[in-house]
Symmetry: C2
Subunit: 323 residues, 2 copies
Amino acid sequence: MRAVCVIGLGLIGGSVLRAASAAGRDVWGATASDEDAEAARAAGYRVESTEDALDRAAAEDALVVVATPVTAVRDVLRLVAWHAPEAWLTDVVSVKDPVAAEVRGLLPEVRYAGGHPMAGATESGWEASSAELFTGAPWAVTLDEETGLAAWREAAALALDCGAHVVPASSGAHDDAVARISHLPHVLAAVLAAAAGTGGPLALSLAAGSFRDGTRVSASDPELVRSMTEANRGALIDAVDDALGRLGAARGSLSSTGGLKSTVDAGHVARIEWEELRSAPREPLSVRWSAPDAAERLREIGERGGRVVSLSEDSAEADVPIV
Amino acid sequence: MRAVCVIGLGLIGGSVLRAASAAGRDVWGATASDEDAEAARAAGYRVESTEDALDRAAAEDALVVVATPVTAVRDVLRLVAWHAPEAWLTDVVSVKDPVAAEVRGLLPEVRYAGGHPMAGATESGWEASSAELFTGAPWAVTLDEETGLAAWREAAALALDCGAHVVPASSGAHDDAVARISHLPHVLAAVLAAAAGTGGPLALSLAAGSFRDGTRVSASDPELVRSMTEANRGALIDAVDDALGRLGAARGSLSSTGGLKSTVDAGHVARIEWEELRSAPREPLSVRWSAPDAAERLREIGERGGRVVSLSEDSAEADVPIV
């Protein structure tokens, strides 16, 4: 099993380190946070300087995982370019096109496929990390025109070792999707919390389930939410415009006919669609690495709501929902 | 203990019937749903025609609880006017000003205080009901200029017997508050689910915690969501306008500077304010029924985020957060 070097040991990076270790891999890490470094060492993990960690990765042909906040990615990639320019490389940053562009510019020789585990927690930092964080979660692994299948397999194998299943997607399709299912929810939660807050203590004291769940993600560290959402600016603007149009239509309908039927029905249909997709029967699908259109077939699996669940020497084993 | 007659035996009405019975009250009910009636009878409860149930309420000086969907309230009140025009009356409908106006018009002699338990579930109907649904939940009991303290005490006593605590508020203040903390969350959840749904199976298959929680209430019966939100049209339009303004500002900021700081920070501050309000130390406060400004003092307690936790012959015992 390939060794894993994790740069950044917060909630996500720390959980990758723990899960990869639990899967039997040799692991080590680095972090700019003295607090996280100390806690990870106290938990028995090897934590080095970023330079030493990358030197070791180059020497052992390890998979380097960039797990820093998005704002620190460029600095880390510069160090990778210096210490391990031909490394196996992936990342767990929530936006993929901007990271892929940085990698292309700084690391032309690297063997890279981007990653994004769809798991999180309100708490952050090493102390919140867990080897089980990714169990059963989707983990996007990007497959662009320039992505080598070998690099993609390395990133996908790590995700599977962490207990996740792999959703193949191009970086652009990933960013459009997460703008709608992850970043827009954060923006709307903030809008909702602030609008409810102007109702004062009476409103807040009456707030129950719909407010609690609708604003849950607003409890997260605002700096992390900002860096995540702002990094996906282009796709997020489209998603916000869509939401503005729908909310404006609801407003218009409410003030003209007084009705919310189309708003409420459209939301219900989409939510039920999501629930049905999760519980739909699935058919297995195998993609041979040697197939000339392997990358395209993997992306198609992602577009259909499918996932890769295991890898072998010859092929990727997937399943797709029957709808 | 005063007997309780519940009209409407769905999730909320059924739970009131169960909880009031568990508290030792004599209870009976009526429902337009044959399915709910049969299930309630099978669970051992007395279910009659609405006319018979109200006749009995008049004969036994019971507290009548209107627990139908908001769209059926007027028809039920007409029957109350015919069969029990001087009853003790409350309701558990999610909007209060429109119900109070109907009561004033149809039942000038009734002893009424409106109620709204802030508890729910995605499922509806008797089968989803539970005697524990209201445990620890806020339950607004309205106190308008025309509300008699005796009627208010009856409605509040029922809420406390159901395991809730009582938040006193005028009908208008209640409707403004729930527009922001209950009805706006439903509208934004619908907008979010629909906007995410346009991302297709790839987006839905990547959807995780923020989407799941942000759209949870969209799984509810769309007819119930519509009747609840549409009934609070005036206050909801104000809340939607507030949200539109905030979302538009986020959009503008995202496309000009690329930043979401003020959006994210405002949401975080409001969410933390809510969490702090819930865990704040509280000081006790007693309001004597005989005080000339008792009603005003009770409403003030609600405005400060306080709650009434018990009733005695002489006074209402409350606590308010120390902030």
